[in-house]
Symmetry: C2
Subunit: 361 residues, 2 copies
Amino acid sequence: MSRVFNFSAGPAVLPEEVLKEAAAEMLDYNGTGMSVMEMSHRSKAYQEIIQTAEKDLRDLMNIPDNYKVLFLQGGASQQFAMIPMNLMKNKVADYIITGQWAKKAFKEAQMYGKARAVASSEDKTFSYIPDCSDLDIDDDADYVYICENNTIYGTKFKTLPNTKGKTLVADVSSCFLSEPVDVSKYGVIYGGVQKNVGPAGVVIVIIREDLITEDTLDGTPTMLKYKIHADNDSLYNTPPAYGIYICGKVFKWLKKMGGLGAMKEHNEKKAAILYDYLDQSKLFKGTVVKEDRSLMNVPFVTGDEELDAKFVKEAKAAGFENLKGHRSVGGMRASIYNAMPIEGVEKLVDFMKKFEAENVK
Amino acid sequence: MSRVFNFSAGPAVLPEEVLKEAAAEMLDYNGTGMSVMEMSHRSKAYQEIIQTAEKDLRDLMNIPDNYKVLFLQGGASQQFAMIPMNLMKNKVADYIITGQWAKKAFKEAQMYGKARAVASSEDKTFSYIPDCSDLDIDDDADYVYICENNTIYGTKFKTLPNTKGKTLVADVSSCFLSEPVDVSKYGVIYGGVQKNVGPAGVVIVIIREDLITEDTLDGTPTMLKYKIHADNDSLYNTPPAYGIYICGKVFKWLKKMGGLGAMKEHNEKKAAILYDYLDQSKLFKGTVVKEDRSLMNVPFVTGDEELDAKFVKEAKAAGFENLKGHRSVGGMRASIYNAMPIEGVEKLVDFMKKFEAENVK
Ligand SMILES: Cc1ncc(COP(=O)(O)O)c(C=O)c1O
Ligand SMILES: Cc1ncc(COP(=O)(O)O)c(C=O)c1O
Ligand SMILES: [Mg+2]
Ligand SMILES: [Mg+2]
Ligand SMILES: [Mg+2]
Ligand SMILES: [Mg+2]
């Protein structure tokens, strides 16, 4: 067995020791005589798994008691509808458009009320985060929405927008648990887990209790009501049980690694190796303005599409997988989530240097 | 490692060889150098997994070409809303109420149009399937809805209802792939996979193409539109990738076992061992009228709640797990899905005989 370096934007690399544990427990979890996949979600063994997962996540993120943690299905995309359906009491919400995912969320919200784009970086292919210090926030806005880390474009909000007192809702799919976060600044933090946290099929929603009400838009399906899931501790119906179990293992791994403060240091160190090289390379260059660079997703280009394709191909042959940029932007993208070891980035940079030497005349 | 006999109603027992393969492939699927959990859903390796899964399911169920197979999230419960949101063009649908799950689906549909209960077996605690040969089907009914196998009550439709030409929609969550089925008799067949097919977090929807249209109810979230998923071959957003992979392995296992005809024989033989014993036991008795008995879920009682509790406790100590009946009916329930070996049922009956000898004065 040989493992590759997997730079996929998601689903993405997971900690090797988590996978090893999962393999070892596959036929018999902890003396129960069954796989976690086979367990009734109402059994004692499973209750302990989901409760421990929640507790460890609360510890890691320091989640205040007045926030609920929900483990749901449908991916981040389903939240694009759940958020307006549950939160648009005044039917007004303000969106900051920093990439495709924010835009999709915005378009979905327009089905349900007056969703307004109050800022955008589309003018420069989403290569920066707009100034959000003094936006024209609607007095009636039920919330202000951001995609905190833009997976495709490689930007990240380093400062949260000034919402002028309105509830902040953030999609953190691609920066989940990558650094400490002050949960109290948000009304809702959510993300699909398939980048930094676990296997696709689980979305985690951290939501302030006062935002969880019976008062949802007409026609909101039962399964799309936060209150149903909150009242039932994510067990209203059968949850994505195995995925939650893997997330729980990743939470334990993060605690062992020193928690989110340590992860941030680790991620900064890792990202610097790549960004520093990009900044002095004569062949490659990053596509994002320096101050808004993501620690997780690093897009770069040579400026020559053929050379980009050659690089991706040769990198793959050398064991660096999934370096092709998103189909909407081209070039390359290295996603270097929590579970990507420093060694992976070091070796990638070595490979890039070699490629540069061979391809710069 | 010792495996128990797991009679859980779902999530439920899976074939041991499927679990062994999954464990062996956990860190390196088929030479890719990564776990299926870590794979981009747009990668070649994953495309092959999902396409092969679909093909094998089509083979097993002999699904006609004019039906789409969708792998979705949200569980069966989310279908309770998706069905009316997508199919209620006239805003009328007729429901046959044979248990809690049918009732929940019915209640959800009432949010979206005129959902009518055209038959029910609630008068006798859902212990039988009502006569559905000549129901008062609405001329405008967009569909007639059944829960084909009632997990909680242990009944199964042995004859499909006469829908008077209207589209039949069936929840087959707890009888999925347990016997051959004539797909062409249905408009939609769907089920959560967590009983007979795979880990919780995947729902499979088999739907006739003409029912997949743009014309959904106002406010239907993008993620709840069949058309979006059909047009994108279940890859509109990140699918529950690992769960689909396990389902694919179960499909291969079913083919190796001889397909659904062989499974039916196997399941009939297995169920007969338990039902025959129940019919001659002086202590235990089944709760369902004989002609409507499920092959999958077998509820039974002693008639004495304390004795029921004693039985469940002693059975658990002897390695027979999850025999407690659903909280809404009490007593016992043995779910004996495809992956439950005959040996499990034989040993359970031996244990019941011993218990009967000890407890009948
Ligand atoms: C930031 C962000 N939001 C939302 C999504 C969509 O997630 P899902 O595929 O789980 O719906 C993605 C997926 O890549 C993402 O990167
Ligand atoms: C027949 C039937 N339908 C629907 C459901 C609900 O499924 P889910 O938990 O996936 O929403 C169940 C669950 O046990 C079931 O047995
Ligand atoms: Mg983006
Ligand atoms: Mg450069
Ligand atoms: Mg039922
Ligand atoms: Mg009897």
